[in-house]
C-alpha cells in the first residue's frame, strides 16, 4: 500500500517524547555541583537526541509521503494509517460506546507534523540556557511535544481532545515556572482561555457523538451518518450553527484571532525563549488546523452561513494585530517580544482570510502560511532571545548600532525580518501572495483592506530593525557582554544559537525559491477539501483547480 511503510511511524513520532520524558526522569539528579552539572548536561543531550530522532521520523514521513492521495473525509485517502479499537462496549442501558485509536495524515496535517518536528528540535538549543530545575523543564517540554504531535495525527475526536488538553498542563508549568516576572498571571491566563474554548468543544464533541454514534471524525463529516432525530441531524439548524460557533471560538482562542487574542502577548512576553518559539511556531497552528480538520468539514453548512464573518475576523486580526505591533513604538511600552507577538496575531489573520476564501489557492496559501509563520516566528523569537540573554532587556529604544557589535547576528536577523515582511524570495511571500490571490476572488474588498497589514508590517519590522541595529551604540552596551568572558567569549552570536537558527534560515530561503515540496504535499488534499465544501460555501471567481 502506498503512503505506508509497514511501521507504526505516527505512534512512534507521537509517543517518542513520552519515552524521552521517562528517560529524563530516570537520570539521577546528582548530589554535588559537579555531578549535578553532568546530569543536567545529560538531560539536555537526551532531549536533543529524542527530538532529533523525531525529526528523522518526520523526514522519513516526508520522503515516503504520496502527494496524490487526498484524505480529508475519505479514509482511503489518508496515509500511514493506524486504526485500533480502544474502547468498545455495547451497553444496553446507556447506549454503545466506540472509541478508536485512529491516526493518519493527509495534506492538511503532514506539513504540520513536519513543522512540529522541526520546531521541537531547534527549540531544544535555546533551552540549554535554562538553569532552574532542568529535569522538570525537559520532562514538561517533551510532554508538550507529545501533545502537539498527537493533535496533528489523530483522526478520532476523542483522541484529538485528549491530546489537545494534554498540552495545557505542561504549557502552564513551562510559562509559570521558567517565565518572566509576571509569569503566574500569564500562565493562568493561558490556561483559563484555552480551557474555556475546549470545554465547549467537549460539549460539541458529546453532541456529535450522540448524533453519529462514533468519535471518528471522518464519520462525522458524512451527513448520512447523522441520525435524523439527533441533536445535530439535518442541515442549517440553529443548533448546528451554535455548535459551529462553539467549536470556532475554541479554535480561534488558540489561533488567536481578535477578539480572543489577549492571552497571547502576555504569554509570549513572560514565556522563556524556547517556549515562545513553540508557542508561536506550533501551538497557534493548532487553532487553524482544528478549524480545517474539524469545524469546517463537520459543519459545512454553518461555514457557508458564517463564511463572511470568518473573513472579517481574518481581516480585523491582520490590521488590528499590525496596529498593536506598531503601538510598541510608543514611549514606555517598547518591548520587542511583544511586537513580535502582535505580529503573530496579524500573520495568523492571513491564515484565517485564506481559509475563508474557500478557494484552493487560498487554502493552500493558508496552510503554507501556517508552516512559514511557524518557521519565521520561531526564528524571530530565538533572535530576540539571543539579545535578551545578553542584555537582560528587550526595550526597543535601549539598543542601537548592534550591527557593528554583532554582524553575523544582524545578518540572520535581517533574513528573519525580511521573511516576516514577506519579501519576494522568502517563503512568507509565496504563502501571503497565495492567500491574497484566493481571498481576492471571494472577498475583494476585505482583501484590499487586509493589504494594509503588509504595509504596516513593513513599517514596524523595518523600524524595529533600524532602532536596534543601526545608529549609535548606547554607552552601556559598548563593552563586551560579559566582562569575565565566561559565558560569552565573543560579542556575536555563538555556535549553539547558530545551530538552531541556520537550518531555519535555509528553510525560509529554500521554500521562498522552491516552494513545491511543501505545496505539492497539500494540493491534492486541499482540492478535495474545496470540492467537498463547494456545495455549501461561497467561492468567488472562476474555479479551475490547481
Amino acid at each position: 500500500m502506498q503512503g505506508s511503510i509497514g511501521f507504526p511511524i505516527l505512534t512512534w513520532i507521537t509517543f517518542l517524547p513520552i519515552l524521552g520524558m521517562l528517560i529524563v526522569w530516570l537520570i539521577p539528579s546528582g548530589k554535588d555541583e559537579e555531578t549535578k552539572k553532568r546530569s543536567n548536561m545529560l538531560i539536555r543531550w537526551t532531549s536533543v537526541g529524542i527530538t532529533f530522532i523525531q525529526l528523522i521520523l518526520a523526514v522519513i514521513i516526508f520522503l515516503n509521503y504520496n502527494n496524490g492521495m487526498t484524505g480529508v473525509n475519505q479514509q482511503s485517502g489518508f496515509q500511514f494509517i493506524e486504526k485500533f479499537t480502544w474502547i468498545k462496549a455495547s451497553l444496553p442501558l446507556i447506549g454503545n460506546i466506540h472509541i478508536e485509536y485512529f491516526m493518519g495524515i493527509d495534506g492538511i496535517s503532514a506539513p504540520m507534523v513536519l513543522l512540529t518536528a522541526i520546531i521541537c528540535f531547534v527549540a531544544v538549543f535555546p533551552s540549554f540556557g535554562i538553569e532552574k530545575a532542568v529535569k522538570g523543564y525537559f520532562a514538561m517540554y517533551l510532554l508538550l511535544d507529545t501533545g502537539m504531535m498527537g493533535v496533528f495525527n489523530s483522526l478520532d475526536f476523542f483522541l484529538f481532545y485528549v491530546f489537545w488538553e494534554l498540552m495545557l498542563l505542561p504549557m502552564y508549568f513551562l510559562i509559570g515556572i521558567w517565565g518572566g516576572p509576571r509569569k503566574e498571571y500569564a500562565a493562568i491566563k493561558f490556561f483559563i482561555y484555552t480551557l474555556v474554548g475546549s470545554v465547549f468543544m467537549l460539549l460539541v464533541m458529546i453532541g456529535l457523538y450522540l448524533s453519529v454514534g462514533s468519535f471518528n471524525m471522518l464519520d462525522m463529516m458524512n451527513p448520512a451518518n447523522f441520525a435524523s432525530d439527533s441533536i445535530f441531524g439535518g442541515f442549517n439548524t440553529s443548533i448546528r450553527y451554535v455548535a459551529f460557533i462553539a467549536l470556532f471560538i475554541g479554535f480561534a482562542i488558540k489561533v488567536p484571532s481578535v477578539p480572543f487574542h489577549t492571552w497571547l502577548p502576555d504569554a509570549h512576553v513572560e514565556a522563556p525563549t524556547p517556549i515562545s518559539v513553540i508557542l508561536a511556531g506550533v501551538l497557534l497552528k493548532m487553532g487553524t488546523y482544528g478549524m480545517l480538520r474539524i469545524a469546517f468539514p463537520i459543519f459545512p453548512d454553518a461555514v457557508g452561513y458564517f463564511q463572511g464573518l470568518i473573513a472579517w475576523i481574518g481581516m480585523i486580526s491582520i490590521v488590528y494585530g499590525a496596529f498593536c505591533a506598531l503601538g510598541q513604538f510608543k514611549i514606555g511600552k517598547r518591548d520587542l517580544k511583544k511586537l513580535i507577538a502582535y505580529s503573530s496575531v496579524s500573520h495568523m489573520g492571513y491564515v484565517m482570510l485564506g481559509m475563508a476564501s474557500m478557494r484552493p489557492e487560498g487554502i493552500v496559501g493558508a496552510i503554507f502560511q501556517m508552516f512559514n509563520h511557524g518557521i519565521i516566528t520561531a526564528m524571530l523569537f530565538m533572535i530576540v532571545g539571543v539579545l535578551y540573554d545578553r542584555a537582560h532587556t528587550r526595550g526597543l529604544d535601549e539598543f542601537g548600532g548592534m550591527a557593528n557589535k554583532m554582524p553575523v547576528y544582524t545578518g540572520i536577523m535581517t533574513i528573519a525580518f525580511f521573511a516576516a515582511i514577506g519579501l519576494p524570495g522568502m517563503s512568507g511571500f509565496i504563502s501571503e501572495a497565495m492567500v491574497f490571490l484566493g481571498a481576492f476572488n471571494t472577498y475583494p474588498m476585505l482583501t484590499m483592506v487586509s493589504g494594509l497589514g503588509i504595509i504596516l508590517g513593513a513599517a514596524y519590522m523595518l523600524w524595529a530593525l533600524q532602532k536596534v541595529f543601526f545608529g549609535q551604540i548606547p554607552e552601556r552596551w559598548q563593552g563586551p557582554w560579559d566582562p569575565t568572558g565566561k559565558k560569552y567569549k565573543h560579542d556575536d552570536i555563538n555556535g549553539r544559537e547558530l545551530t538552531a537558527l541556520i537550518p531555519l534560515a535555509v528553510i525560509v530561503i529554500f521554500l521562498g525559491i522552491m516552494p513545491n515540496p511543501i505545496i505539492d504535499m497539500m494540493s491534492a488534499s486541499v482540492n478535495h477539501f474545496v470540492e467537498f465544501m463547494r456545495p455549501f460555501v461561497k467561492i468567488g471567481g472562476h474555479l479551475s483547480g490547481m
Partner: protein, 502 residues
Amino acid sequence: MLGLDQFIAELNKSISMFLPETALVIAFLVALLLDLMFKKSKNLTGYTALIGFLVTGYFLFKQMNMQSTAFSNMFVIDQFGIFMKWVILLSSIGVVLISFFTNELYEKAKGVGEYFTLIIGMAFGMFLLVGSSNLIIIYLAIETMSLSSYVLAGYTKEVKRASEASLKYVIFGAVSSGIMIYGISILFGLTGSLNLFEINRFLAANPVNNFALFLSVIMILSGFGYKISAVPFHFWTPDVYEGAPVPITAYLSVASKAAGFAILLRFFKVTFLDSVPGNDSVWTLLGSIDWHFVIAILAVLSMTLGNLVALWQTNVKRILAYSSIAHAGYMLMAVSTMDDAGVASVLIYFFMYMVMNLGAFYVVALIANNIGSEEIDDYNGLGYRAPILGICMTLFLISLTGLPPTAGFIGKLYVFSAVVKAGYIWLAVVGVINSVISLFYYVKIFRNMYLNDVDSNKSKLTYSPASIVLLFVFAIPTLYLGIFFNDIVKWASYSANIFMGK
C-alpha cells in the same frame, strides 16, 4: 398476615441476603471486644476492620447478580445498590489505610481503638441506607451512620476546631433529620404507606395534593441533601471538613456522599417514576411536579456556589470541602435526568471521584504529617521538597478539574453526555463553565507547590516507602481509568438497573 412458617422462611431468606451487613456488624462487635481486651496494642481494631471489610467484600461479591427484596420489602438487593456498596467498601478500606499513615490521629487523640470501630459502624449504616426501600429504614440508616460520623469528626478532641466541627455537625444533623422525619410523616399521611414501592403504586393510581407532596419531598430532600452536601443543605461542610481529621474528611466526602446519592436516586426513581405501559425502557414522571427541574436547580446552586466560594479559601481542606460541594452539583446534574444513562453516569463518576478524592486527601494528610499545616501558603515550594507528592497531587487535582487523560475526565464526559442526551443543554453549559471556574482554585494548590519558593532551601519532606505505595494505589488508577475505562463503564451500565419493585 403471614403464617409462622412463611415468616420463618422469609426471615431465613432475608438473613441469607443480609450477609455483607451481618459481616460488618460482627466485625464491629469483635473490634469492640478486642479493644476492651487489648488496650495497649495500637492498630488492632484497624486490622480487625480491614479483615471485616474483606469478609464483607467476599459476601458482596457473591451477591453480584442478585436482585431481590428482603425483610418484607424493607430492604432491596440490586445491582445498583451493590455498585454503591462497593464504592463505600473500597473507600472504607482506603480510609482505614490512610488512617494508618496519619500522624495527627496518633498524636492528638487518646488511642485509636474506637476510631476504627466507629468506621465499621458508619460503614454499616451506609450499607443499610443504600439498600433501604422503606422510609423508616432510611431514617434509621441515616441516623446510624450520622451518630458514628459525629464522633469521628471530633475524634481528635485536643484540637479545638475538631470539637467545634463535631458540635456543628451534630446540630446541623439533628435539625436536618428532624425536618426529614417531618417530611416522611407528611408523605406517609398523603399516601398511607412507608414503603417506596407502595407509595409509587399509590401515586400512580391516585391524585394527591401537589403542595403537600412538594413540601414533604423537599423536607425529605433536606436529609439527603445534608448527606451529599448539596446547596442549600451544605452549611456544615466547610467547617466539619476543615476540623475533622483528614481521613474522616475523605470518608465523609466520598463514602457518606455515595450513600446519600444512592438513596437519593433510589428514592426519586422508585417513588416518582413509572414505566410507560407496554414499554419497559421508557419512564415517565408521576404527578405534576417537575422533579427534573427541582434537582437541576439544586445542581446549579451546588456547582456554582461550591466553586465560587472555593476560589476565596486559603486552607486546602476547605478548598477540597467546597470542591466536594461542587462535585455533588455535577452529579446532581446527572441525577436530574433520572434516566438510565444518568444513573450510570453517576455511578461512573462516583468510582472516579472516589479514587481521585481519596488520593488528594491522602496527600494532604502526608503533607500535614510533615509540616503540620493545611494552609495553602505553607504549600509553597512543596513540589521541590517532596517531588512524588507534588506530582501525584497535581495528577489528582487535574483529575478533579476533569482534564484528560485522567479518571475525572471520564466521569465528567459521562455526566455531560447523559445531560446532553436528556436534552438539558443549558444545564451542561452551566456545568462546563463551572469546571473552568474550578480550575482556578485547583491550580492555586499546585501553583503554590511549584511556582512559589522554587529555590527554597528548606529540608525535604520525609515519608515511609509504605506510604508511597499506598499513594500509588490511588494515583495509578486515576491515570489508568482515564485511559482504559471500558470495564468500569460496562459495570456501571449494568448496575444502572434500580429495582423497581415489580
